[in-house]
């Protein structure tokens, strides 16, 4: 249960539905399932095996692990990605964690009385500070600030005092309870029907269709100036499509009804990158977390079944619970048009409170659900701190308390930055893309190449199989050696080509770059110039500063010099 508890986090109930909605549902699920099999599981196993090996040489940080495995001077600099990722993600993850706590307490104290979608959207905007930069720092129980302070202090108090065993025990009871509560919520969502009788198309069945239908149907309008097709409306359900056909027929040719097959949607490399990154995010693969925790294991421990159990628990919560609750409920309450525009993490916070408002004892269940989510998030955020702590201990040759103190200062500054730049949640979304997607992708690719090509599959699987009660199927040898790295490199290359250079794969022409790139260097959208975004630029600058700091510490580390020479750390 501890394995399952540690695997479940905000990614399952909040990030996954948000991304699925953003990338159109069904096709995203296909990319997601493929990603789980050919990258999630294999890289997870590789990370467990490499981490345990590094631990047997005395190295417990990601830079130490890379240096111990590769025995090269540059290896530690690659390894610092495995410190940057969890530390930077922690900076915004605690912000979301604070929303969970705020929502839980507000439900239990009767502070939430929602009757409309507009109210829930407004409540979330105040809590997350989307109204204006700095508004989340308002000293009010409706804003994130007081909850964030509680959450931040609680995280570091637990880890500083070494009391995290207590939270682990709480999770042993809390996680099954979270699953039971999620099942109760699922039952309520499935029986919602169409909450607004005036909008019969906005119902749960159409929500399930939006989430799972592989093909998409939409009305498009051709822009006279540019000739580009712009999506006017997405459609799910026979009744909505029949109405749309009449609308298109009456438009005199300005509108057209288009069916987009899953194969056409799957041509978008960003969709693949998002699906792969979600697998990495929720399984904590390519994160620098597993490699650190695996380094504390012994040869008798079973890393194969550990990896599989953690992954399957996580996938169950994500697909069978998160995938059936949030998006269908969002379509029922907000309508198809609004679902994709709620931001990656926002969907759950705008939709789930409405579900609780429409069920008996909703205040109790709502409070309990968000509190369990908060508990799940606490375990994840504590696990994100350990890679940073282990790195500072090793690189600076200091004890845990000094390491925790330095890390708390660093993350306080980082979280403060994220919590200030909350307009459109720009800092959070930017960091989530460049670190929570892009850097994770890079680290995972490097890890599987090191496992499959530097170690070789034979040695890698031998390391993994020590102490294991099950064997990794032979097909995964081929996947780890060829399919997985090739898949990751192709997706990465195509994403850079389309997002950075704006290359259109269907027309083979250069157009607009991704909004994440436009925010940084400017560009065009629909033929109009778009200015850079200062919050996004500063967010990337923050990541670079953190990287330079970690790089400097790595360069001066005596422990890593021993690792580069192939020596164990313990003789130092």
């Amino acid at each position: 249960m501890a394995v399952a508890g540690s695997a479940v986090g905000l990614g399952n109930f909040l990030r996954f539905p948000g991304l699925a909605a953003q990338y159109g549902g069904g096709a995203f699920m296909l990319a997601y399932a493929i990603s789980f099999l050919i990258i999630g599981l294999p890289i997870g196993w590789a990370e467990w095996a490499m981490g345990r090996y590094a631990g047997s040489r005395g190295y417990n940080s990601c830079p130490g692990a890379f240096a111990a495995i590769l025995n090269k001077r540059w290896a530690k600099y690659i390894g610092i990605i495995g410190v940057i990722v969890p530390v930077v993600i922690y900076m915004y993850y605690v912000f979301i964690e604070s929303w969970c706590l705020g929502y839980a307490v507000k439900f239990w104290t009767g502070g939430i009385h929602l009757t409309s979608t507009e109210e829930t959207v407004a409540m979330f905007k105040v809590m997350s500070g989307q109204i204006a930069d700095g508004s989340a720092l308002t000293p009010s129980w409706n804003a994130a600030l007081p909850w964030l302070m509680i959450v931040f202090v609680f995280n570091f108090w637990l880890i500083y005092r070494g009391l995290s065993g207590g939270i682990e025990k709480m999770c042993n009871y809390g996680m099954p309870l979270l699953i039971v509560l999620a099942l109760v919520v699922l039952a309520r969502v499935m029986t919602l029907g169409a909450p607004d009788p005036a909008k019969p198309h906005d119902n749960v069945v159409n929500g399930l269709g939006y989430m799972w239908n592989p093909s998409k149907v939409q009305i498009e309008r051709t822009q006279p100036a540019t000739g580009e097709n712009k999506v006017v409306e997405e459609l799910v359900g026979a009744a909505a499509i029949a109405t749309a056909e009449q609308k298109v027929a009456a438009s005199g040719g300005t509108l057209k009804l288009v069916t987009i097959t899953p194969w056409e949607q799957l041509k978008n490399p960003l969709l693949w990158m998002a699906a792969a990154a979600q697998i990495f995010f929720s399984l904590s693969v390519g994160f620098g977390v597993i490699i650190v925790y695996a380094s504390y294991l012994q040869k008798k421990d079973d890393v194969v079944l550990s990896g599989l159990t953690a992954s399957s628990a996580n996938e169950f919560c994500e697909v069978a619970l998160g995938g059936l609750i949030t998006v269908p409920a969002a379509v029922a309450f907000l309508g198809l048009a609004s679902v994709a525009g709620q931001g990656t993490f926002g969907l759950g916070f705008t939709v789930l409170p409405l579900v609780f408002a429409k069920m008996p004892f909703g205040a109790f269940f709502g409070g309990a659900f968000f509190f369990m989510l908060f508990l799940a998030a606490i375990t994840s955020s504590i696990s994100m701190l350990q890679p940073g702590i282990a790195f500072l201990e090793e690189a600076m040759n200091v004890g845990r308390k000094v390491s925790v103190t330095i890390l708390s200062l660093l993350t306080t500054l980082g979280t403060g930055f994220v919590v200030y730049f909350t307009r459109e949640l720009k800092a959070l979304d930017t960091l989530d893309f460049w670190v929570g997607t892009f850097l994770i992708f890079i680290l995972a690719t490097i890890q599987i190449i090191v496992f499959g090509w530097h170690w070789g599959i034979e040695r890698g699987l031998k390391e993994a199989h020590q102490g294991a009660s099950i064997r990794i199927p032979a097909i995964f040898g081929v996947i780890m050696k060829w399919i997985c790295p090739l898949f990751l490199l192709v997706i990465f290359g195509l994403t850079v080509l389309t997002s950075v250079f704006g290359f259109d794969l269907s027309t083979f022409t250069f157009g607009s770059a991704s909004s994440y790139v436009v925010d940084l260097i400017g560009g065009t959208k629909d033929g109009k110039p778009v200015a850079t975004n200062q919050a996004a630029q500063l967010s990337v600058a923050l990541v670079i500063i953190v990287a330079l700091f970690f790089g400097l510490l790595s360069a001066r580390s005596k422990a890593y010099q021993r690792a580069e020479q192939g020596l164990p750390k313990n003789d130092a």
Partner: protein
């Protein structure tokens, strides 16, 4: 919801549920496996050195 959507949903949900169930069964029925299977466990050895 289309038939293909229903199939994708049932296959996805069914697969992860069976896989999770199988893992629990395997851990619980293999002797001493509960001691050998680990997740992210928060009490790390460095806590004992300096806490």
């Amino acid at each position: 919801m289309t038939t293909s959507g229903l199939i994708v949903m049932l296959l996805s949900v069914g697969t992860v549920t069976v896989l999770f169930g199988w893992c629990i069964w395997k851990v619980l029925t293999t002797p001493q496996e509960t001691d050998k299977v680990h997740g992210v466990e928060f009490h790390t050895p460095d806590m004992d050195k300096d806490s």
